[in-house]
């Protein structure tokens, strides 16, 4: 191994008495792609923040190219060549692609005036070299999430980067975009740029990472070559559970088929919206988990939103328990018992500044009040019930939701909807961005809810989750239903070939 490019040694970081990182060390060789894994709360985020200059460590040191560095701000770290690509895209949506890419480094003519011609051609050229073909004059927000993420990455690596930290870079990418991303990572590696790669997707880790560091409870529990570590062992290291236990349970926690019988509780027919949805129909029986499969932009999220009345439609109808819902009315849908857990929990779901209790009670408030006066005791009872039932890990009902881990935030959201006693639960990417352990818990919860008679619509980009969690999977492609799989046909390959098949025709 060459001399390490980045040396992190003996890092200790405490937050008001709690030790978040306990003597964590990590060496990164030039050109190495290093996986950083662990459950939420294991200290990954804290370690990344120490490396990228957001936090300064209480003990220990960071050396870059052999020289000790101390970053006061993220800007200091960037100037030294440590770039970060965050899970939430750190770009300005209202500005053009080119401006975002080159902000602060715009090509200039005399008198410090920006040369827009050169800026646009430079931006287009840079992006093209990363396989991104977009109109760089368009505002960033007009692009899909995946393309935005790629641009964030292109920005990070086009500034003289020596170490790039990627925090779940693929969480909003389509498979082909992931390929593009891995192409870029390959090139970085050739240039001797090191990558710290954080992801929950085991497939990806094994595809591109050389070394691995497993964190648990703020400590390094394993460090070494990834190829020498088999998957089951990796999962067990992350979870801190017995190997046999993991093997027995598999990676997902779905039990399999549910007893779904009787008339469908939800019938959505002919959902149509120009350019978005074309005659999409879905029916869900009580106790059934129906999966929605398809690529990013296939219309899965839009279907869920249409059912929940949160998307204006040109045509179609939604019936819950035989009652036709007024089109485009979220209030009517909620009243009829449709609950939607949105994809983007940060901007559409939780209210981070409010407490766990307030977040849970929010949607149920109309039910918990009499004559406009809310009964505190009833709220306490409901909040207590759901915190126990969903095993929400919080210091107490009054802790701010922003302080919880992603998985627990997701559970708070689920609790909020369960408190309204829904008949239909629409889950859009319920396990995205949460750690393996919490993921398994959420999956088990979905199972449990279905077996209690709830109709569940599950949207997931994780094929394994979709296959194991659903009784049936409706496959969407470009806004239309292209297939439905159930029973023995319901496999990952089946879904992929259904999508691929139509692409040929």
């Amino acid at each position: 191994m060459a001399d390490p490019l980045l040396q992190v040694s003996g890092i200790v970081k405490r937050f008001t008495g709690v030790v978040a990182l306990d003597r964590v060390s990590l060496d990164l060789a030039p050109g190495e792609v290093h996986a950083l894994v662990g459950e939420n709360g294991a200290g990954k985020s804290t370690l990344i923040k120490v490396i990228t200059g957001v936090y300064s460590p209480d003990e220990g040191e960071v050396r870059l190219g052999g020289r000790r560095v101390e970053f006061g701000t993220p800007l200091d770290a960037q100037r030294s060549g440590i770039q970060a690509v965050h899970q939430e895209i750190g770009l300005v949506p209202s500005m053009s692609v080119a401006r975002n890419l080159l902000l602060g480094r715009e090509p200039r003519r005399r008198f410090g005036l920006i040369d827009f011609g050169r800026m646009h051609s430079e931006a287009a050229l840079t992006l093209k070299s990363y396989g991104i073909d977009v109109d760089v004059r368009e505002p960033l927000r007009s692009l899909g999430l995946g393309a935005q993420q790629m641009i964030a990455l292109a920005r990070a690596v086009s500034v003289d980067a020596r170490v790039v930290v990627m925090d779940e870079p693929t969480s909003s990418l389509e498979p082909r975009e992931v390929d593009t991303l891995f192409g870029v990572i390959g090139r970085l590696r050739e240039q001797g740029i090191s990558v710290i790669y954080v992801s929950h997707r085991l497939d990806e880790l094994y595809r591109i990472c050389d070394g691995v560091t497993v964190l648990r409870d703020g400590r390094v529990v394993h460090q070494g070559s990834l190829a020498e570590l088999d998957r089951l062992r990796l999962v067990s290291l992350m979870l801190g559970r017995d190997m046999s236990e993991v093997r027995a349970e598999g990676v997902t926690r779905f039990s399999g088929a549910h007893d779904a019988d009787g008339a469908p509780v939800l019938v959505a027919g002919g959902l149509t919206r120009r350019h978005v949805l074309d005659d999409v129909s879905v029916a869900i029986r009580p106790g059934e988990v129906v999966g929605l499969g398809g690529l990013l932009g296939a219309g899965r999220t839009e279907t869920a939103k249409a059912i929940a009345g949160a998307l204006q439609l040109d045509g179609g109808h939604v019936t819950v328990a035989g009652v036709n819902l007024r089109r485009g009315s979220a209030a009517a849908a909620i009243k009829a018992g449709v609950a939607l857990l949105p994809e983007d929990r940060k901007s559409e779901g939780i209210i981070p500044t409010l407490s766990v209790r307030e977040n849970i009670a929010l949607a149920a408030l109309p039910r918990l009040s009499r004559g406009g006066v809310v009964s505190d005791a009833r709220i306490d009872r409901i909040v207590d019930t759901f915190m126990k039932r969903l095993r929400i890990k919080a210091a107490g009902p009054h802790q701010r939701v922003a302080e919880l881990s992603g998985g627990n935030q997701q559970k708070v959201l689920i609790a909020r909807w369960l408190a309204t006693e829904p008949r239909i639960l629409l889950l859009d990417e319920p396990t995205r961005g949460i750690d393996v352990g919490a993921k398994a818990e959420v999956q088990a919860l979905i199972d449990e809810l279905a077996s209690e008679g709830l109709g569940v619509l599950l949207i997931s980009s994780d094929l394994e989750e979709l296959v194991e969690g659903s009784d049936r999977v409706v496959v969407l492609k470009d806004g239309t239903v292209v297939g439905e799989l159930a029973g023995g046909d319901l496999t990952e390959e089946g879904i992929m070939s259904t999508i691929a098949q139509v692409e040929d025709g």
Binding site: G90, S142, L143, R155, T180
Partner: protein
């Protein structure tokens, strides 16, 4: 490279034309309405399209415009400056006060004090991270108080003698337009270049579009924010000084409520109150629109000039509704 990411993935083809039209409306709606109004005014009132009348609209609008230029920058960063009306009046009184040391001092004194005023506000907002609304509301009261103390509770009115350099600049004209109009145009040209063609301008947009992201991208957020408030203070002070030069005295009761006219003009000009989008040219259209509306209502004669406020207010409401609708359409597509 194994594959290519093409975008926008979800945007249907054919929506582009409508999209572009909405974008144009957002940016140039005020200009379109202005042209329409001037055309209607010219046909309806023979006294409207005269050189005298138009020159009059230009000179009365030029002071509001200068203040609005600074406000445009502030609002694009997502901030607000409520102090400009008071600072405008303060600038006028300081200019008249400074005349005892000559015309140059009379111009420099308000610039120095108002610029410093903006600096303090900017530091409180950007460094101490107080809310712009509160800081500049305090500034509004503070500047007014400072002005009153200089003028002995408004009892003393300082004069700018006729014939002094400053008064000649404020009152003189060439080609039917007062000198301050040309200065305002020059300032707007410089402002447009600064906003559109420099890194500073890019930073202004980036901060308004997403302050946290801008910070992560290495934008000097604090410095940029301080500078826009300094600019706003300087421009308000300058406008006040020139207005005083035109009136030959520092009038203490001026500028009350002016900040609201300024904000109205900027927003009518297509700058989003939420920050991140807007233009200097839109602001000039917004200012002129307010000026023309007032002038036309005066032309109608038997209509009370109080209605000018009603019309301007109604217009502002319409603009904000349209803006909100347009940005919602853009986001939803």
């Amino acid at each position: 490279m194994t594959s290519t990411v093409t975008a926008p993935a979800e945007a249907p083809p054919g929506a582009g034309g409508r999209e572009r039209f909405f974008g144009l409306m957002q940016r140039h709606g005020a200009t379109a309405v202005l042209v329409l109004l001037v055309a209607v005014g010219s046909v309806s009132f023979s006294s409207f399209p005269t050189g005298d009348n138009l020159g009059n609209i230009a000179i009365t609008s030029s002071f509001l415009a200068t203040v609005a230029l600074g406000m445009t920058f502030v609002i694009i960063t997502g901030g607000i400056d409520l102090s400009v009306g008071s600072v405008f009046a303060l600038g006028g009184v300081l200019a008249a006060y400074g005349m005892r040391w000559g015309s140059f001092a009379a111009l420099l004194l308000p610039l120095a004090v108002c610029g410093a005023f903006g600096l303090v506000q900017g530091l409180l907002i950007a460094r101490v991270r107080l809310a712009p609304f509160i800081v500049t509301l305090a500034g509004l009261l503070g500047a007014r108080g400072l002005l009153l103390s200089i003028s002995n509770e408004g009892a003393t009115t300082y004069l700018i003698p006729h014939g002094s350099l400053l008064a000649r600049f404020g009152q003189g004209s060439v080609l039917g337009l007062g000198y301050p109009v040309y200065l305002t145009l020059a300032l707007f040209a410089a402002g447009a270049v600064l906003l559109q063609r420099t890194r500073f301008g890019q930073c202004v947009y980036a901060i308004g579009g997403g302050e946290d992201a801008a910070q992560l991208m290495g934008v000097p957020v604090t410095r940029t924010k301080v500078l826009v408030y300094v600019m706003s203070g300087l421009l308000a002070g300058l406008a006040g000084a020139l207005n005083a030069a035109r009136l030959s005295s520092g009038v203490t009761i001026l500028g009350t409520g002016m900040e609201l006219d300024v904000i109205a003009a900027v927003v009518i000009g297509g700058t989003l109150l939420t920050g991140g989008a807007g233009s200097v040219s839109g602001t000039i259209a917004g200012v002129l629109l307010l000026g023309v509306i007032q002038n036309l209502i005066n032309q109608i004669g038997d209509l009370s000039s109080s209605y000018q406020q009603v019309v301007s207010g109604g217009f502002l409401a319409v603009v904000v509704v349209v803006q909100t609708y347009l940005s919602r359409v853009q986001r939803l597509r």
